[in-house]
């Protein structure tokens, strides 16, 4: 066959491309853009003032009769009397979703990640060590250095991230490889490949719920959210793996445990040294039929047969399972992550046939995950504080399927989010009491009208959960777009509406929020772009204390060491920093503003990329041009300090620095290219550790 014939053969085989789903993609793109403007996290370490007497009466000042309706007292949960009862309920919930091709909604199936069945897990890859230097193989014996930590939402509750340090070791998880470095004398000590389970998730989407992340627990790394890169249709569900890597001998990091879960690992939190895993299980994909032709009769027949398939499903199809193996693949236990008696549901009518729950996983023991509890419902956003863990259906779905439009009067199988009326999305909220790892108990579970942007839209303090909800349609900037704050009294089995503040910044979209003490600081964007200060001292009557119009928007807010509010946002071709004085909540003032070059900051995608070193008053911001710009956050000033760049070292132009970590007197900046260690006094290179 000649070259020409081969060309023709391939040309023909490639086929007719069909038409792209432009609107679908546009939707995903807009959501991602909205997400990039709404990337906010915060620490809530500031002591909270005591709350005054609560007025538990009806409508309150600031609340309006129009706008989304909220709830009075809801949230009670109930168990099922038997596995049959649970199965029947789940089937009934899923039945309306079934169409001629399986679950319908937007014509997309949502189990895009799948792998081998849970019990048939392949052995973990043999660990490999790669010492880039001739350093000693034993663990460094010196005292750990002072170091920064992940920019978590709640101080003391660590979140998985791609870099971790304890001042002795520095861990970096990139491209499926976990590298272990000596943090005291910068050098690569060892690494382990986590196989294709360690690669970024299929669409490489950073910051999404299935991105692999690390938790560092003494001498172990717990790697969460590993997913195999297999797209397979008609498979029941994805498999997510959590691996435990022993770091006792850092030159030879060894996988000692693998926990494979039949479902999505939404997120994880390290609480009291024990990882808590948040698991979501979508309705199972069965071996769906499809219509024989385009006729209505064929469609109806396929739908009927699919409904029969659903009726014939067993409880085993629905309940997520786990398989725990040791480093050599030996079975340490397998079974249901949540059994029928550990599944609860809202007593009020609710929609969706997903399951979402929490379980504790002790990486040190041989025991299987314990104390799990699940509720019928969906969630992709986790917020842990104190003894509570909230799971909500944020509009940031994560992954490619996150852009499913839920406002068309159809169900969204990807998240179980039911449609609201007239384009108002809704948010499921599930609270868990995780004070006893051996026994997770239910808090409350309900559905609120309005969309939730991210975990920073939630804040719990003193028994009150404040929620920022967006309404008016999924498109930012729609004329009816507005933000509402709802205060809910939290108790076991109930959420009681205490107060509401509606119509915040009509026409604007919520961009960022920070909760400090009794105040909530909000930035919205579109028309006015204000900074709003909301007083929550009396949760029954939240009030706007002040509004400060501002020229640019901030997608991230943090509190400086001198009590100033710092806003970070992308503006034009750079990053805008704004320093606000908020000592007097009635009259906030803009004290300083500066613009950093570099095309914008990656903080808008993922707050973990930000490093704020309070003691040194330095803010490290990786920018899209690959450099990290360091700014001194003074009491009333913003001053450029220095810039760190890896450009001198070989690599691709697309290798962006996305992490900055402080260890001792040095800043470690990380990209796919490698790790650059720079001295803080001026930014001189201390070490370059290529990948």
């Amino acid at each position: 066959m000649s070259d020409e014939e081969l060309r023709t053969l391939l040309e023909d085989a490639a086929g007719d491309p069909g038409r792209p789903d432009v609107n679908g993609l546009l939707h995903v793109m807009r959501r991602r853009r909205a997400r990039r403007r709404v990337a906010f996290r915060g620490t809530t370490a500031v002591a909270l003032a005591t709350v005054g007497a609560l007025a538990l009466t009806g409508p309150l000042s600031g609340a309006t009769a129009s706008g989304p309706t909220h709830l009075k007292t809801v949230g009670a949960l109930t168990t099922y009397s038997s596995c049959d009862a649970l199965l029947t309920d789940l089937q009934a919930r899923a039945m309306p979703l079934v169409g001629p091709y399986g679950y319908s909604g937007n014509g997309q199936t949502f189990s895009s990640l799948s792998g081998s069945s849970v019990q048939g897990l392949s052995r973990p890859a043999a660990p490999s060590s790669a010492a880039a230097s001739a350093g000693p193989a034993a663990a460094p014996a010196e005292a750990p250095l002072a170091h920064s930590s992940t920019t978590d939402r709640t101080r003391g509750v660590d979140e998985p991230d791609i870099t971790k340090t304890d001042g002795r070791l520095f861990l970096s998880l990139r491209g499926g490889v976990l590298r272990v470095y000596d943090a005291v004398h910068p050098a690569l000590l060892g690494s382990v490949t986590l196989g294709d389970k360690g690669a970024p998730n299929y669409n490489g989407h950073a910051g999404g719920p299935t991105t692999p992340g690390l938790l560092l627990d003494r001498s172990r790394a717990v790697v969460t959210g590993l997913t195999p890169l297999v797209i397979r249709q008609n498979d029941s569900r994805g498999t997510t793996t959590t691996a435990v890597v022993d770091l006792g001998n850092p030159a030879h990091p060894t996988v000692t445990r693998e926990l494979a879960i039949d479902g999505d690992l939404v997120d994880a939190r390290l609480i009291d040294d024990l990882p808590r895993l948040v698991v979501h299980a979508a309705p199972p994909e069965l071996r769906w039929f499809s219509p024989a032709d385009g006729s209505a009769a064929a469609q109806a027949e396929a739908t009927d047969r699919n409904k029969q398939l659903l009726r014939a499903s067993t409880i085993a199809d629905w309940l997520p399972t786990y398989a725990l193996t040791d480093g050599s693949g030996r079975d340490l236990g397998h079974g249901r992550l949540f059994d029928c008696d550990a599944v609860e549901r809202d007593t009020a009518p609710s929609d969706g046939a997903d399951l979402v729950g929490v379980t504790a996983f002790d990486p040190a023991s041989l025991a299987a995950p314990t104390g799990g509890l699940a509720v019928v419902g969906a969630g992709n956003t986790a917020y842990a504080v104190g003894e509570h863990l909230w799971i909500a259906t944020g509009r940031l779905g994560g992954g490619f399927l996150g852009g499913v439009n839920c406002s068309q009067g159809t169900f969204c199988p990807a998240s179980g989010i039911p449609s609201g009326t007239q384009g108002v999305p809704s948010t499921q909220l599930h609270g868990f009491d995780i004070s006893d790892p051996a026994h997770t108990s239910e808090l409350a579970s309900t559905t609120l009208a309005g969309g939730l942007e991210s975990d920073a839209s939630l804040n719990e303090a003193n028994g009150v959960l404040s929620v920022l909800l967006s309404s008016g349609g999924p498109e930012p900037g729609q004329s009816t777009q507005e933000t509402t704050l709802v205060d809910l009294r939290v108790a076991h089995g109930s959420l009681t509406q205490l107060g509401t503040l509606a119509h915040l910044s009509p026409g604007d979209t919520l961009q960022s929020a920070r909760w400090i003490g009794n105040l909530a600081y909000l930035v919205t964007f579109k028309a006015i772009d204000p900074l709003l200060l909301i007083d929550l001292s009396n949760p029954a009557t939240p009030v706007v204390r002040a509004t400060l119009p501002s020229a640019d928007t901030s997608t991230y807010l943090l509190q400086s060491d001198t009590g100033r509010l710092l806003g970070i946002g992308n503006a034009g071709n750079g990053t805008a920093l704004k320093l606000y004085g908020v000592d007097d909540p009635d009259s906030p003032a803009l004290l300083a503003t500066t613009k950093l070059a570099g095309g914008g900051s990656t903080v808008e995608n993922d707050p973990h990329t930000l490093l704020y070193w309070r003691a040194g008053r330095l803010l490290f911001l990786p920018s899209y041009d690959g450099k990290v710009r360091v700014t001194t956050i003074g009491r009333d000033t913003l001053t450029p300090a220095f810039t760190l760049t890896q450009a001198a070292h070989p690599g691709r132009a697309s290798d962006h620095v996305d992490r900055a970590v402080l260890i001792g007197n040095d800043a470690w900046t990380v990209s796919d290219r490698g790790v650059l260690v720079s001295n803080l006094a001026g930014g001189a290179d201390v070490a370059w550790l290529p990948s």
């Binding site: 081969l6 391939l10 038409r19 789903d21 299929y202 490489g204 769906w288 899209y624």
Partner: protein, 169 residues
């Protein structure tokens, strides 16, 4: 930010979709997966848009992204379940794309090749790239491209898809 807007995005999608999906189909042999790859590549290109040197670079960036993502795509079903190309089943599920038996057969035969050989062949013969361009995209020396294409040709002939009627490969 940076002058992007919905219209530009729509133009990007409409203009680059056909080439991306067709390329994807030959690289992963599964139409559904190919469309996912194309969509992902488009979204990633859009996110990278401000950093592109020129808007014309978008389609090349999308293509490069797709090639890289496709290389990470491992279809365990095909590794576990090798069949004769002629008996590969139709993709199931919601898939309005209808491929002819010949198209399925050729895609199936391609899928049986090791990815490295498949990618080299597709880049050379579908995209009509030179050996040097293919080498650069795949990150290998040009000589490697030549030998991979040669081996791909041998394998395809053995599978019966390519008729051994002389000519060189």
């Amino acid at each position: 930010m940076g002058g992007r807007d919905d219209e530009a995005f729509k133009r990007l999608v409409t203009s680059t979709w056909p080439a991306l999906v067709r390329l994807g189909r030959l690289l992963v042999a599964d139409n559904h997966a190919a469309e996912d790859l194309a969509q992902t590549a488009l979204l990633k290109t859009w996110e990278h848009w401000p950093r592109l040197r020129a808007p014309e670079a978008a389609s090349a960036y999308a293509r490069t992204t797709l090639i890289r993502d496709a290389s990470r795509f491992r279809d365990k079903r095909r590794r576990e379940d090798r069949r004769e190309p002629a008996t590969l089943p139709e993709p199931e599920g919601d898939d309005p794309h209808v491929a002819t038996p010949t198209q399925l057969m050729v895609r199936g035969a391609l899928a049986l090749l090791p990815y490295d050989q498949r990618a080299a062949l597709v880049l050379r013969y579908l995209l009509d790239l030179s050996e040097a361009e293919t080498a650069k995209l795949l990150g290998v020396p040009p000589g490697t491209v030549k030998s991979r294409c040669a081996r791909a040709g041998v394998a395809l002939r053995a599978s019966g898809v390519l008729l051994p009627q002389g000519g060189r490969l």
